[in-house]
Amino acid sequence: MKYISEFREGALAHNIATSIAAEADPRRHYHFMEFCGGHTHAISRFGLVDLLPDNVHMIHGPGCPVCVLPIGRVENAIQLAQTAELILCSYGDMLRIPAANGMNLQKAKARGADVRIIYSSTDAIKIAQENPQHQVVFFAIGFETTTPPTAIAIKQAQELGLNNFTVFCNHVLTPSAISHILQSPEIREFGVVSLDGFIGPAHVSVVIGSQPYEYFAEEFQKPVVIAGFEPLDVMQAILMLIRQINSGRAEVENEFTRAVLPTGNIKAQSIVAEVFELRRIFEWRGLGLVPYSALRIKANYADFDAECRFQIPALSIADNKACECGAILRGVKRPQDCKIFGTVCTPENPIGSCMVSSEGACAAHYSYGRFREKNHSVTQDN
């Protein structure tokens, strides 16, 4: 696989690992947050932790759209799906996110809701065309990467004059989330969490470019290295972060030059700007209310806004008390710090959203990393 396989070469990884080991200062610890679930997944899937020295710590951030969607919005989607004569289109990722009472879209589907799993936003348009007598709602989620396809679908619906297609918009913004974390009391006031640098998103940055990160590097004096999602990219980014720290720099560097330009994809940005506008505030699971952190559909396109067409109540539903997702998403705790990790909360019966997506910190640790726990406390059960 051209441009994939080359970036997974084990031999090269060993060399970068050797450089990291050589350059990491044994007298200190390095704490890096990979903001993105994509990086979390790569780290787990390829077992990168085994290639890093003990004093280099990877902290999983909130960059997984599945993990950060608040229960209330999932509940809204479930209620939409349960509406008679309504088809809810969703990416496969959303099916297992637990809402209230352990309900999720998959269970709603099993109980009769018409939920269609789509691969692309344009599939939802097709379904709307094929089912003129049904309302078709696209449950749109995701960061800046996934927003442009939603914008295209809305514009397409307008061109086609579809009157049975709407979008339930839940698109969120990466920079706001990073700001929020850096301004959190744990980091800012109490210093409970030391965060020495960020690995910046790969595909989000393809769209928004590297410039938006300059602010963090300057304002918070944290180095940022934008990296691809292949394991060599991640290793290289870690090395680049160590080098910045060792040399006292806090800059935005781009390891993913093959796809990320400083300005990103201007065309995609302008299409998004045409269709969407900022929400004043939006709830993130784990992070709470984050100002200017999400998008909504502009009034011009209100005909395609499910929040205009349907009664969608603002629900704020608290997470399960035992669930530590919030702290985990902010980098304050690790999955194994959660009391119910691997016992009550498992990938089959996730309690928190971090146990759902394979990019979620808890799911990644459960599915890929469990054997590392010294007492193997969480065993294969049955």
Binding site: Q106, K107, K109, A110, R111, G112, Q336, K339, F341, G342, T343, V344, T346, P347, E348, N349, E373, N375, H376, S377, V378, T379, D381, N382
Partner: protein, 352 residues
């Protein structure tokens, strides 16, 4: 806190048998499926073969003649007076085995579950199967579970397959009917079909008819020990006695003559047939058999059958005759004659 390595066996969170329902994950080969199989099926059917949880069961057999039979069960409603799809699926296959004179030995059970089917209902069905296998002393030694999307199935379909061993010297088969043989049935006709129909949508009527679903291996064992002259055994399920006899007539190249006044039919069954426009000869039975035996043994056999709880109402209902056209005919109560043809079309409620 993470528990300390002393995990007791079994899934941390057991199946929610109260509110849970079948989901696609229960069929995907992953851990949820393993849990369903473990906690639902293996728990209920428990035996040494199944417990190994291989994709196949292994057991010793002795040489000789073996029979194998399979049936898919797709009944609506799933639960009905006198039984449910679970017990039916066990009895149905045991009976097909037994109709060769064999002793049923092992069963396989394969489930096709519709997404959304309540686990509580599945449990009820599985328990009913477990009870039926226990009563019949025939274990389910292997199985399979598939889940299909909502509206691609109908709650639950169960396919059971059984194997059994034929005792030395027994040769019972549907091509063995001979002119002069007597035709017996083991009891009242049409009970199962009418019990089921009473629960169909747009057809609902009240009745205390119950399905006759029952395993017939005991009765057959007794019959075989009474006479070695049984030529044919057949359970008249779908299509009823009429279709079963037509098939046998074809297979044996004979004709048959039934006596209408000898047919054991419950008055309620007859009444239901009258108002729906059905004929009890075409209604399904699930715990009855047709036996065809040499004339000289018929009375003996009848007595033996009547002495068994499942043969109380047994009767000699006709005889095998020569007929190159293989017609099944009936001497009516009126002294007239008519053909008793195969079932044509469906049994649908009629106005004329």
């Amino acid at each position: 806190m993470p528990n300390n390595g002393k995990v007791k066996p079994g899934y941390k969170r057991t199946l929610d048998l109260k509110h849970g329902c079948v989901e696609m994950v229960h069929g995907n080969g992953g851990r949820s499926m393993a849990q369903l199989i473990q906690q639902m099926f293996v728990a209920a059917f428990d035996n040494e073969f199944l417990r190994l949880m291989n994709d196949q069961a292994c057991f010793p057999v002795f040489g000789g003649r073996m029979v194998m039979s399979t049936d898919s069960h797709v009944v609506t409603p799933l639960f009905f007076p006198g039984g449910d799809i679970g017990s039916l699926s066990i009895h149905g296959t045991i009976n097909d085995i037994v109709m060769s004179g064999a002793k049923p030995c092992y069963l396989a059970a394969s489930f096709i579950l519709e997404e959304g089917f309540p686990l509580a209902d599945l449990k009820r069905i599985v328990d009913s199967m477990a009870q039926a296998t226990k009563a019949a002393r025939v274990p389910i030694v292997t199985g399979d579970t598939k889940v299909v999307e909502k509206n691609s199935g109908d709650g639950v379909f169960i396919t059971t397959t059984g194997i059994g061993m034929v005792p030395e010297g027994i040769y019972i088969s549907c091509e063995n009917a001979r002119p002069g043989d007597k035709i017996l049935v083991s009891g009242t006709l049409g009970d199962h079909g009418i019990a089921i129909m009473a629960w169909r949508e747009n057809l609902s009527f009240q009745t205390n008819i119950e399905s006759d679903t029952a395993p017939l291996h005991d009765l057959v064992a007794k019959m075989i020990s009474t006479t070695s002259n049984i030529h044919v055994l057949r359970d008249p399920t779908r299509g009823g006695v009429a279709s079963a006899l037509n098939e046998i007539a074809q297979q044996s190249s004979v004709g048959m003559m039934l006596y209408e006044n000898k047919l054991p039919i419950l008055e309620q069954v007859q009444a239901a047939c009258e108002f729906l426009g059905f004929d009890p000869l075409y209604i399904a039975n699930e715990g009855k058999l047709i036996a065809i035996c040499a004339a000289e043994d018929a009375e003996n056999l009848l007595n033996a059958m009547q002495a068994h709880p499942l043969g109380n109402n047994a009767a000699i209902i006709g005889e095998v005759i020569e007929d190159t056209h293989c017609f099944v005919q009936m001497q009516t109560r009126f002294g007239g004659k008519r053909v008793v043809d195969w079932l044509n079309g469906e049994q649908l409620p009629r106005i004329c």
